[in-house]
Amino acid sequence: MKEVRVCVLRIEGTNCEDEMADAFSTVGAVPEKVHLKQMERNAPSGLARSLEDYDILALPGGFSAGDYVRAGAIFAARIRSLMGPQLKRFVESGKPVLGVCNGFQILVELGLLPAMEGAMSEVPTAALYTNDSGRFECRPTVLRNDDRGKCIFASEIPKGGLVMFPSAHAEGKLMSNDPDFVSKLEDNGQIVFRYVNPDGSKAVYPWNPNGSPSDIAGICNPAGNVMGMMPHPERVMTRFTRPDWTRNPGPEEGDGMMIFRSVMENLK
């Protein structure tokens, strides 16, 4: 099989690029942590990189540019000004883009999600806004796979199946101006993950950590190749990072493995 090259894009303040890269290595991809400045035209030779050379783009979590202005806004504005057209082509060609936590916020600020009209909107059409609690919420969350077969990052997770990924964010409430936003996402098959209570019933706080409408935790674009989610699958690649592994060892693999395996299967 051809080598699958992953660009894990970072700038100052991203802090989950190591786990993200490791997660892709675990499923056989070849990840590279690339600083945004390496994408600049005047980057020193040897360090210069181009988005076209990669098969997958991953935006890791963290606090890019200190979360100043708004979470993800500065990273998004810099990506747009440096390589907006290349990124749009990357997405339109069907290549996978994954954004986790701050990465999801960046995808929304970039207009790559929800992207109901075209691959990338000029201005954001949604926002990931301050949690209802007004606090940083950090704990395991249980997600149900509500993907209807579109999202290339969810195909290896049983439909309706539950996974446990940790959440750690202060701005995770998905918002839009459109009163029909959630039903449009639903109609387009863009809702990939919903927060649920551990027994699978409708989530109440703190199992929905941010107050997101319809308990939405992750969405994809209408084409299914761009996914953003607040919880962190890359933090649960082995049983040892499950919060209850000493009491309930479960399978050797962590739930997060399925996300990364899905995208690799879809690239075959």
Binding site: V69, R70, A73, I74, A77, E109, V123, P124, T125, A126, A127, Y129, T130, N131, D132, S133, G134, M175, S176, N177
Partner: protein
Amino acid sequence: MAVIEIRIELKKGVADPEGRNTKKALEALGFEGVGEVKTVKVYDIEVEGTHEEAVSEGEEMCRKLLANPVIQNFKVTVR
């Protein structure tokens, strides 16, 4: 050289958890009769050009970075 003030406010109807928590804290400190508390963000930015150019540049800054039109309004004035 002009200094523009850019004021970023939450749109009507967007909840303001920080404002709400601040209100609670003020009440806990014994302040009575505290109504709605809103948080706003203000940038003072030095820019070149006439006042008119400065304002239109400020508005461009809001569209490109400083405001998310889904949740925020902006107002640019010359100080």
